[in-house]
Symmetry: C2
Subunit: 728 residues, 2 copies
């Protein structure tokens, strides 16, 4: 915290408007870069296609009378959408004027601005202001702030070509009162350490930069009291972890980054001495990288309330990637930009487009990593292990506030370009009005957030923290070990608060036994409690069941829900499988690959086969499949399973390779302060992982296992008896 | 029939071996084309990649000892797969020898052939010959025939470089006895008018061509008695309709075409005077085009027992497309070849690869068409209507023999690159040994074949012909009208035999109302019976339900099957919707587009919402959704519905356009010998289709509808009241 105060001091000391000439535009798009963009048209494919798209998007505005209606509708309604589009059009037309020099765009911006200059002073609070923080153009102040972020960029692009009178009118009748409403009348939102506050700060700060108003800039950066207790810099301190992770998770991280990036870019263009991108050890750059690293095959990990279509091609990530490339020159970012298929109409966008055209693109280098959660990195984190084309995600972070799910120690698995062990995400059809207007549906609370909807342990059929957000917000999981050594990657985390009196620890290993082609996932889930409980460990999969190693009792002509509450009421009980000793194996086919989960089964355990869709009166839930390993009554317990991805199904060429797992079974054996996790292969071979109870990274271990004596450093070691597989 | 006999006569009169020099190879690959292929290596990308793949595939054979095991295993087992691969390797190595001149390939072919020459005389019937028609190398004679089709091509490629002694040995010890076994000892299969017979004819005929043995060629072409009552030519007469349609449907058409194409190509290379590709008005070419036309977005329509992964990229279609291009020069075929990503290693393949490299590719021109079924085109047919990127398929053909489904008058709909109104296809996981070895699963009979599994009418909960194939084989549906006029395409067909005493007629229209962007499908299903029945009209859809225009009664916490037999036992009853008068509307989201079915609802009718998966002990069925419009008790009835595809869901860019149908409701009105099918739009507009009872194409009609007097020719006319849609 000391360090942060010092850097604040340095920033305030260095910068000020007096040093700057009055150059416009100078926010996202600068006067210089507009010239360069113009000179490069017709030469850089990605720039050209982006430019063409902008021309197409603005074309309808040139063809018909502009509509600036009296604010009336809530989100999604006509006046809401119209004002939103008008705001974007002011920015876009301003940029096009700068790039093309065509006066029709200048006239359009002028026309729109004057219309708003007439409208704005007549407005009171928005008629649909049921919301706590009402706007004037929109039902909530958030939208008003976003609108100004666009509009100020358009104004900045044309102001030098407006008459002094027009400028005066626009600034005194529209911009300054608008800033007042955002920062004074709505000071509560303005001073929030929250994404809504960031949009307000960006709007006010960028207006300050454009009007050369130091007061506006100061309150934007340091809050209404200019003491740094709130405002943009404080938001940079508090809303991201030191690794750039945003606590609500990737879906909201993407959204939250936008105002940070836009304002920072504008500030850096106009007032480079602030060195805003260097602030807090480059946390904004880290946030861009964190967002990319929280994705697989261009889609974000759908942790918490997340729409699963969102990924690296969203507009927020176009901002992030283009700005990050301009700052770093990291050629790996170009592959992301290429997939995005568009660039910003700015100097940054031009740099990216030219670098791609020059063939500089390299693959983005995804690595295994921890993204710590919490302003100081103190609240656990999200861990990603990667190898070849596989990725494992373990969520051992904080709750993620109101959009968080009760899913501590849950995991996800990606392979073969798809989500294999999956997270439902949010129960919501974004913008689909026939689904309750596109809002979060009731099943988001009754299913989506519950623990059983995730790949983590459920105790006594209840959700973590009994489903109480306030309680959950108080604590977080804790990372115990992270060792990304290729071929034997390990992560371990614990959670002590989710269930009173029950301590949870999950250790996951991405191993590479010689006997297998793809990485093998080992999953050890330890539960410690004094009293006996029912323990359920669900695994949600995508794909079609192709094999069970025992005959299940299947619900043939009547389906009943698995339970009455906490998400269980939405799961149909399709059947149950018991394995007399040994391991339970479930194989499914997803796309053209098979996946087998082989589970250690203590006495009394069973596998429940479940399907989503019970108690779903509006057909809001997708039909997804899962199985639950259930220990009906136990105090201390250990769950152990391995996941193998194997074989190939090729319907077109009519062949199928290895549809059965090479894993015959799994065993656990305790040896002093160690456990041997044994994976027995069908061909007689065996892979053994020896795991120390003491997981310290530097710790030296020596152990005799059978006739072997092994020495290693760190949480685990492995060895393998390889059998030459004649049957292959 | 008269015409066929005449052309047979002409063929026999023209051709003979005496005219030909002893050039080798001269089957699929000719000596000349091998030289040209060789000269073009490194210059034609698609040729190069195909060639590289062949090198890779044959490489393992050069690295280790060849295994020619004693036949032991049934299909899928080791010896089965080994002999299959060895046969293909003989062909492939022979071709590579011709192209590269590298002796290692010659030695490999020689080695393999000598090994088989030693093995074959020692063999009796295959030990696993439970099958009626046993082979020697394989459990069924079909596989033996296929093997020889490959092997003879390899022999043909090397024979000029073998010693006279080796040739003698191979021909007398292997090839001639092998042909004897196929044609004499297994004469029953050899003389079958069936796909198995075609493979045998191809094997024997191609061996005849290679050995210059006129007898072999004669029996291959005209059957054992050489009288043309069986054999290859008769198979060409009987197994395809005059339009090139193969009665088992597209999935089997693809497979069945292979021996026809290979043998015909070989015959045409060696004995062009037979003009085999001109035979029966170019029926083999028509078959290639028929197969392509029976596809959408590269996948075949999954009629009858079909694996849904199969499409235009299968190896059989590579043969078909390359040969057809060489014969026709149709540049539209090149787009199909391009998607296939490979060509044949033959003169035909080279032509395709060169044409693509030369930029000659054009889009394949898909058109609306009828593919008649039956040897004389007398057994109804499959009708495809296409417009923009949409395709409607109506199956009004014969049963399609043992692999047929009880689905007369069923339809399918494709749009936006996907199957929208869908057919389950076969219940089978091809080659997945954990699914009963990959064979047709029990649910193929209890679900897949049943009428309720298709988009056609079910009477009294029973399947067509009571599910009896023999009965169904006797008759076919009948096409009444086909009018592919752009903007108003019509097809109508009837089925009089599927249910005793119940006459069925379905009329489907692909219309283009001005009020809509995409084509609108109108579906009128007429039922006539003396007695009262329960009528169910199911629609199977892919996607997620997003809207119902009335509140359904939903099964929340208990699911029961919809019935006890005929496929109904596999459908869970998810709920029922009644609409008090008016129309019932069901909307679902599939991919990024919405689909709305708006159904005319007479008194007492209801919509049942169903989901597949009941009584499925082995989890063999996919979880698919359907709804069933049920008329519980009626004699004469008419079902009328329209399907609109509309809007866009864009999760990444966060917008949704028109998630609700523009159709408000549908009505039917009888006016004399006409019916007016009315589609009422939400904005007050209306589209009216007037349909004549008399569907003759040339018939002139005049009718007064309200204040309009309309005149037209053919089955239908349409008019529209267009309302300018302010809300857009």
């Amino acid at each position: 915290m000391k360090q942060i105060i010092i850097s604040l001091f340095v920033i305030v000391g260095l910068a000020g408007f007096q040093a700057q000439a009055d150059v416009h535009p100078n926010l996202m798009l600068t006067a210089n870069s507009a010239k360069t963009l113009s000179a490069n048209l017709g030469r850089v494919p990605l720039l050209d296609s982006t430019f063409e798209r902008a021309l197409e998007e603005i074309a309808p505005y040139l063809e018909s009378q502009v509509d600036v209606p009296l604010p009336k509708d809530a989100g999604g309604g006509y006046t809401h959408e119209r004002h939103k589009k008008n705001g974007q059009a002011i920015q876009q037309a301003g940029f096009l004027y700068q790039i093309t020099g065509d006066k029709k765009y200048l006239l359009l911006v002028q026309d729109l601005l004057m219309r708003y200059t007439e409208l704005y002073p007549t407005l009171g609070k928005h008629p649909e202001h049921k919301h706590q923080s009402p706007g004037k153009l929109f039902w909530q102040i958030l939208n008003d702030a976003v609108w100004l972020v666009y509009v100020i960029q358009g104004y900045d692009a044309v102001l030098l070509d407006l008459s002094e009178t027009d400028r005066q009118t626009i600034e005194t009748q529209l911009l300054r009162p608008y800033v007042d409403y955002l920062s004074v009348e709505s000071s509560k939102t303005f001073n929030k350490i929250h994404n809504h506050g960031t949009w307000a700060a960006a709007a006010v700060g960028m207006t300050g930069l454009t009007l050369n108003d130091q007061h506006m800039l100061d309150i934007a950066l340091k809050g209404s009291n200019k003491d740094g207790s709130t405002g943009f810099l404080k938001q940079m301190d508090m809303l991201f972890s030191p690794d750039g992770y945003y606590t609500e998770g990737p879906y909201y991280q993407r959204y939250a980054m936008m105002p940070f990036l836009v304002f920072a870019r504008a500030l850096d263009n106009k007032q480079p001495d602030y060195k805003i991108f260097a602030y807090r050890d480059q946390v904004l750059l880290k946030a861009v990288y964190a967002a990319i690293n929280l994705s697989y095959n261009n889609l974000f990990f759908p942790l918490n309330d997340a729409i699963k279509d969102k990924g690296l091609d969203t507009i927020e990530m176009v901002y992030g990637v283009d700005i990050a490339y301009a700052l770093t020159g990291d050629a790996g970012l170009l592959s992301v930009a290429k997939d995005q298929g568009q660039v910003l109409l700015s100097g940054d966008g031009l740099e990216v487009a030219r670098a791609i055209a020059a063939g500089k693109t390299e693959e983005f280098h995804f690595t295994s990593q921890v993204l710590r959660d919490g302003a100081e990195g103190e609240s656990g984190g999200v861990v990603v292990l990667r190898e070849k084309n596989s990725a494992l995600v373990l969520k051992a972070a904080s709750q993620g506030m109101g959009h968080g799910h009760f899913d501590r120690l849950a995991w996800l698995y990606y392979d073969n370009d798809a989500e294999v062990v999956s997270d439902y995400g949010a129960v919501r059809f974004l913008n689909v009005v026939t689904k309750r207007g596109g809002v979060y549906l009731p099943e988001n609370k009754t299913w989506g957030k519950h623990t059983v909807a995730h790949n983590t342990l459920v105790v006594d059929g209840a959700s973590q923290f009994d489903g109480k957000v306030k309680l959950a917000n108080k604590t977080s999981s804790k990372l115990l070990a992270f060792s990304p050594k290729p071929g034997l990657q390990i992560v371990s985390a614990r959670e002590d608060h989710a269930y009173p009196g029950v301590a949870l620890q999950r250790t996951m290993i991405m191993a590479s036994p010689q006997a297998l082609q793809a990485p093998l996932i080992l999953d050890l889930f330890d539960v410690k409690a004094k009293d006996e409980h029912q323990y359920d460990l669900p695994l949600h999969y995508q794909g079609h069941l192709t094999y069970l190693n025992a005959k299940p009792k299947v619900a043939l002509n009547k389906l009943l829900p698995l339970g009455g509450a906490n998400g269980y009421q939405h799961l149909w009980n399709k059947g149950e499988m018991k394995v007399a000793g040994g391991s339970a194996q479930v194989t499914w086919l997803q796309g053209n690959r098979f996946y087998s989960s082989t589970n250690y089964m203590p006495r009394g355990a069973s596998v429940i086969l479940a399907e989503l869709g019970a108690n779903d009166p509006e057909f809001n839930l997708r039909r997804e499949s899962s199985f639950i390993v259930r220990y009906p009554k136990m105090a201390k317990a250990q769950f152990f399973s391995v996941l193998e991805s194997h074989g190939e199904y090729n319907g077109s060429r009519e062949f199928t390779l290895q549809p059965k797992s090479k894993v015959a079974g799994v065993e656990i054996e305790r040896i002093q302060q160690y456990r041997a996790l044994k994976v027995k292969f069908v061909n007689g071979g065996q892979y053994t992982l020896v795991l120390a109870d003491d997981m310290q990274a530097g710790k030296q271990h020596t152990l005799r296992v059978g006739e072997k004596s092994i020495r290693w450093q760190g949480p685990a070691s492995s060895f393998e008896e390889v059998v030459d597989d004649k049957a292959q």
